[in-house]
């Protein structure tokens, strides 16, 4: 594994920030009193920290903050539809309970996410709320347990405001594949928010909640982050427990997170990451306090990224990528250069083979993972005269079109006689992809690329053309094949919609180097001038 970011020595960040220094972050004025149009242009700040400060100082109560977010949520939901389930009563109760504990002076009352409204993608199990996976086959299903990541959020004091919309079982790139509703993009409600974690991305973008959890199997956190203009993190495979995540492709799935700033994203990652005895693929590597390693703007040197070597993936800037996206990424690259880093083009051989290899592997694993949805132990059952018919009818009735397609494709790829031709070859391509990333990451600290070949497209544009939709995943799937961490940070705009459409910069690192990505991402974000990623719909409040 390559050594940690070279520039670490040169960054003041290795000097830990003393707690009082946190006051250097400007508190975000409440959006009700300062609509988007009058917010000073500049970098995003930490909403989590400002909530923490208000709770500790007694300036605001958790009930008040939760009520503000729930009211914005209700106001924007008819247009956005980010949530399959809103848990207002439970959220209000939890906020009141938190206030009671703070008021009674309880020592550990104010955890790292105290009073922070969070959204949870509906393929993560929540014991007191329906968890549908975006599918009719689990309509009304209430899990018997919380996913480990949900449990950790709650233990940190977060207030789960609801379950966000997704493409069914994580299969899709637009959230149009949900069995329940189509979520819209806060930047233009005729466009998709991306997928499969579209609801989680749009909820954070529209400030319906502060941070949210999603999952990323082939780009399902990174692409919606880019489409919605928010920060999205896909951790290293094994960094975050998958216990309680409804499995799509077990060797590719990870739980990821969204925030409106790198700092908030880093905070939620520290809370949910770490070994879990209930997930044997989870790593026991120590979880750093990622947010504490982020340097505040006024402590940065003039060339804070001096010595950092960055490679732009050549194959992601060519044919098929929108001009506006290419120029946003090149703009981001030159911004990174101005910060002192060395930016060069690098080629990743086998890059384009990753896409069919990914779909073969993902479909094959999905065909196995989704065999549990048989109408017997949970979910919708269609009655029948014999067992096979019950399986067949329950699954036919409960599973959506895209899910059925992928199960059938996976069944084909795994059929006797076809293993060598498809599954094994896809695994061999996986080896090639891993090796080419490893080589590149020995020469560069971070690799960058777009997260998608375009900005958000119109709802309905790709629904009849599965291959066109799959093609959009070319920027993201290779990272899942190699299990690497990746961070998407908004970096620019293209034309479209009432105020332009956001474009995200994807930064890819070596395994377990989320800290490096977050440090660089934070510096990039804090020094990005004159760009505000608050969608116009918030100005209407």
């Amino acid at each position: 594994m390559p050594p940690p970011l070279q520039a670490h020595r040169l960054l003041i960040s290795h000097r830990r920030l003393p707690t009082p220094a946190r006051r250097r972050f400007t508190a975000v004025p409440s959006l009700q009193s300062a609509p988007a149009t009058t917010l000073a242009p500049g970098p995003a700040t930490s909403s989590i920290l400002s909530i923490r400060e208000s709770l500790l100082s007694g300036e605001r109560t958790a009930a008040d903050i939760t009520s503000e977010y729930l009211s914005r949520l209700r106001r924007t939901e008819p247009s956005l539809r980010s949530f399959i389930h809103v848990a207002d009563a439970a959220a209000e109760r939890e906020a009141e309970e938190l206030d009671r504990r703070i008021a009674s002076g309880e020592k550990d009352a104010v955890g790292p996410l105290a009073g922070v409204p969070v959204g949870v993608k509906d393929n993560l199990c929540t014991a007191n709320m329906p968890s549908t996976g975006g599918s009719r086959i689990l309509d009304g299903y209430r899990p018997a347990y919380d996913a480990t990541v949900v449990r950790r959020l709650r233990e940190a004091g977060a207030i789960v405001v609801g379950k966000t919309n997704l493409d069914e079982f994580g299969m899709g790139s637009t959230t149009e594949g949900s069995a329940f509703q189509v979520t819209t993009n806060p930047w233009d409600n005729s466009r998709v928010p991306g997928g499969s974690s579209g609801g989680s991305a749009s909820a954070v973008s529209a400030r319906q909640c502060i941070v949210s959890l999603g999952s990323d199997t082939g780009g399902s956190v990174r692409q919606p982050a880019s489409f919605c203009g928010v920060v999205g993190l896909k951790p290293t495979y094994g960094r975050v427990s998958r216990f309680g995540l409804m499995a799509y492709a077990s060797s590719l799935d990870v739980v990821g997170c969204f925030g409106s700033s790198v700092f908030d994203t880093a905070t939620i990652l520290s809370v949910v990451a770490g070994h879990d005895k209930m997930d044997s693929t989870s790593s026991s590597q120590v979880v750093p306090d990622y947010a504490s390693e982020l340097v505040s703007l006024d402590l940065l040197e003039s060339k804070p990224l001096a010595g950092v070597r960055i490679g732009i993936i050549q194959e992601t800037l060519g044919e098929g990528v929108a001009n506006g996206v290419i120029s946003s990424i090149k703009g981001a690259a030159s911004h990174l250069e101005q910060l002192g880093s060395l930016v060069e083009e690098v080629s990743l051989p086998s890059f384009s083979l990753g896409l069919p290899a990914y779909y073969i592997l993902a479909s094959s694993e999905a065909s196995s993972n989704l065999s549990r949805y048989d109408g017997i132990r949970y979910g919708r059952q269609v009655s029948a005269d014999d067992l096979n018919e019950l399986y067949g009818e329950s699954r036919a009735n409960g599973l959506g079109h895209e899910v059925k397609m992928r199960i059938l494709m996976g069944t084909y790829a795994l059929s006797a006689g076809y293993y060598d031709a498809y599954y094994k070859r896809a695994q061999q391509v996986r080896t090639l992809v891993k090796e080419s990333f490893k080589d590149a990451l020995e020469r560069y600290d971070i690799l960058i690329s777009p997260a998608a070949p375009s900005a958000a497209y119109k709802i309905g544009e790709k629904t009849n053309d599965p291959l066109a939709m799959y093609a959009g995943d070319i920027m993201t799937v290779n990272v899942n094949l190699a299990g690497l961490p990746a961070l998407v940070v908004p970096c620019g705009f293209v034309e479209g919609g009432p105020a332009g459409l956001p474009v995200g910069l994807q930064m890819i690192g070596s395994p377990f180097c989320e800290g490096n990505l977050l440090r660089v991402g934070h510096i990039f974000e804090q020094t990005l001038q004159n760009l505000s990623f608050v969608p116009p719909l918030l100005a209407e409040s």
Binding site: Y141, R142, P143, A144, Y145, G238, S251, L252, H275, K277, S280, T281, S282, S284, E315, G318, E319, G320, S350, F351, L353, Y359, S367, I376, R377, Y378, R380, Q381, A384, D385, D386, L387, N388, Y391, G392, E393, R395, M405, I407, L408, M409, Y412, G417, Y418, D420, A421, Y422, K424, R425, Q427, Q428, R430, T431, L432, L467, A468, A471, I474, G483, P511
Partner: protein, 149 residues
């Protein structure tokens, strides 16, 4: 242990069957890969398994194996799409992957940990039972299991 009826309901894997191979023909794989240079793709020698066309998916058989009932209209709708996708997968057939080890997983967690093999009682069995659609304490009710001819 599976009852005889249940065991015969599971389709037998036709391990002895090999896919029917045809001579490779000029095919265009759609969509075009995004990289402008495809110099990394090395065509494999013409002879041997994996270099030819594989038998197209038999949707009826697949739907049966996947336990998903497909109506004739659905089958008609799915067939061309699945064919298109499996053709697209065919791109991998012409790549030279000789001597490349297949990767089962990402390999980022070499330290796979096993927990103690100590059974614990789950504390919310009620919720599990409540989720069962057809329950007749203490049995999960299912219809009869038929012998598939």
């Amino acid at each position: 242990m599976l009852s005889a009826a249940a065991a015969s309901a599971i389709p037998r894997l036709r391990c002895a069957t090999r896919p029917r191979l045809r001579r490779p023909s000029a095919r265009t794989y759609w969509p075009r890969p995004f990289s402008s240079s495809s110099s990394h793709v090395t065509p494999a020698p013409a002879a041997g398994a994996g270099a030819g066309e594989l038998e197209p998916p038999d949707l009826t058989r697949l739907a049966n194996a996947a336990r998903i009932s497909l109506s004739p209209q659905e089958a008609e709708e799915f067939e061309p799409k699945i064919r298109q996708l499996t053709d697209w997968f065919g791109q991998l057939q012409v790549v030279d992957l000789e001597s490349i080890e297949p990767s089962l997983r990402a390999g980022t967690t070499a330290d796979s940990s096993l927990r103690e093999d100590k059974p614990e009682t789950f504390d919310n069995r009620d919720a599990i039972v409540e989720a069962i659609p057809s329950y007749d304490d203490p049995y999960i009710k299912v219809p009869r299991v038929l012998n598939k001819e």
